[in-house]
Amino acid sequence: MKSKTADRIATGVFVAIAIIIVSILVGLFSYILINGFKHISWEFLTTPSSNIRAGGGIRDQLFNSFYILLITMIIAVPLGVGGGIYMAEYAKPGKITDTIRSCIEVLASLPSIVIGMFGLLVFVNVTGWGYTILGGALALTVFNLPVIVRVSEDSIRTVPRDLKEASLALGITHWHTIKTVLLPSAFPSILTGIILAAGRVFGEAAALLFTAGLSTPRLDYANWNPFSEQSPLNIFRPAETLAVHIWSVNTQGLIPDVEAVSNGSAAVLVISVLLFNLLARWIGSIITKKMTATK
């Protein structure tokens, strides 16, 4: 009787915890979406922001967010996956590997504002670039790299050992085995991890405050010359992202419609991150299905 009662109580407690988690999530989402959705319009997404007048949009901030994300990923993915391959396949167990692993873990848990300060010191001041997209992307790389290394290492480690043995036993070299057997098998989970990391980067503000800056020059979207000041593609220009924009209009905005802009931006941000997550799952499952031919 006693253990049955305990079992019932345990079930009740865990169901309650699940309900709490879900309701927090649902509450948060619906608050942001209900408040923000009415401000989202095509015009909101396609007009530049305004410093003083009402009715500004988030065109440049939205573009900056995606562009910084892209640059970050171009830098972080090769480094991160390479690091993951090293940790999974080449690092010999021992003190050095343990040290590297704890460094990665510490890096992963660094507060992003600290990374922002570090970025200000190194990518803004030491390099003399000022606030730039590249500086922001490098700061985000620091923020992102440990996650990608970790995900890649874990994904490669979970590839069945059989496959690696099969390839090596055919007289295939280690590198070729990594390239043709391990990486393709690990690819779906690496990709999922990268997209999830991208979602994190997309919503990051603190690391960008002091590296990519709080302003965006007047952009001319017809100008594709990456060295021009007005070109959106220029990586040496300051760029305010969506997350930073939310922070800045709320703390120092002079516009009368602060609430509308920040609620609308928040909703766009949340929807984008949600899309990243859904995309990650969808692509991951498609690739897995394709490769294993199982249902």
């Binding site: 010999k92 167990p93 069945p160 059989d162 496959l163 043995e165 099969a166 390839s167 090596l168 036993a169 055919l170 007289g171 295939i172 070299t173 070729h176 043709t180 057997v181 393709p184 098998s185 490769m291 294993t292 031919a293 199982t294």
Partner: protein, 257 residues
């Protein structure tokens, strides 16, 4: 008369000792393996039979902390010597594992994998090799209409035969089989055994097995391992009808193991 016997040997293992850290897993193994014969290795779990077969293509090197002494001569060359080219060795000594482990690729690509890496690029040449290898393992008729289908869609027995085809496609001299049927149903097992009998016309085969009937059905020579020692190595008929050592007799009559 000693010269011809020497050339019949593919492997000549002398005084092989192997340690996993402090654990002495193989003790003074002396083991000649003859060309175009099937040599079966039997023994209870943990006797060192899987360890032994993995030394023949040095897959054992994947285990950290392994130490070996002695000689493993393959076609006259000691593979434990310093400058052994693992890629070259494993091209000549193929291996099939306990569980079929095809790559998550198409049937065709699985078989073509080894030859491709080893430099065969011509489509026609590859096609021939794939077809021949699949025919060798009696899988061709079953898969010829779906060569581009994923290999993981095949049944367990078909997957294992595909893995044998994959190993044969690199044209090895020796085929090592580490309990190749332990994960298969009886019918698939029978097919693999028939295959082994056919393959021994062309290849030297070393097979580790838990199943003594299997050893007696497919092999010419049988070796009995116990606690890291090679207790007895003789023709299969002698081992099963009139073993020299009482421990061999005890094992094959089912008194232990």
């Amino acid at each position: 008369m000693s010269a011809p016997t020497l050339t019949r040997q593919v492997f000549d293992i002398r005084d092989l000792n192997l340690w996993y850290g402090d654990h002495h897993a193989l003790k003074n193994i002396n083991f000649p393996i003859n060309k175009k014969e099937v040599t079966a290795i039997i023994g209870p779990s943990g006797c060192g039979k899987s360890t032994f077969i993995k030394t023949l293509n040095l897959m054992i090197n994947m285990v950290p902390s392994v130490k070996m002494t002695g000689e493993i001569n393959f076609n006259g060359q000691n593979i434990l010597g310093e400058k052994m080219d693992l890629v070259e060795l494993r091209k000549h000594v193929g291996m099939v594992f306990q569980k079929g482990n095809p790559f998550p690729q198409s049937i065709y690509d699985n078989v073509a994998y080894g030859p491709r890496v080893h430099g065969i690029k011509k489509k026609k040449h590859l096609d021939e090799l794939v077809i021949k290898s699949l025919m060798d393992v009696a899988l061709w008729e079953e898969v010829k209409d779906r060569l581009t289908a994923p290999a993981l869609g095949l049944s367990g027995g078909q997957q294992q035969r595909l893995c044998i085809a994959r190993a044969l496609a690199t044209k090895p001299d020796v085929l090592l089989m580490d309990e190749p049927t332990s994960a298969l149903d009886p019918i698939s097992t029978l097919k693999i055994e028939e295959l082994i009998l056919e393959l021994k016309e062309k290849y030297t085969i070393v097979i580790v097995t838990h199943n003594m009937q299997q050893a007696s059905r497919v092999s010419n020579k049988t070796a009995f391992f116990l606690m890291g020692e090679l207790i007895e190595l003789d023709s299969t008929s002698t081992i099963f009808s009139n073993p020299n050592d009482s421990r061999t007799e005890g094992y094959i009559t089912g008194r232990f193991g």
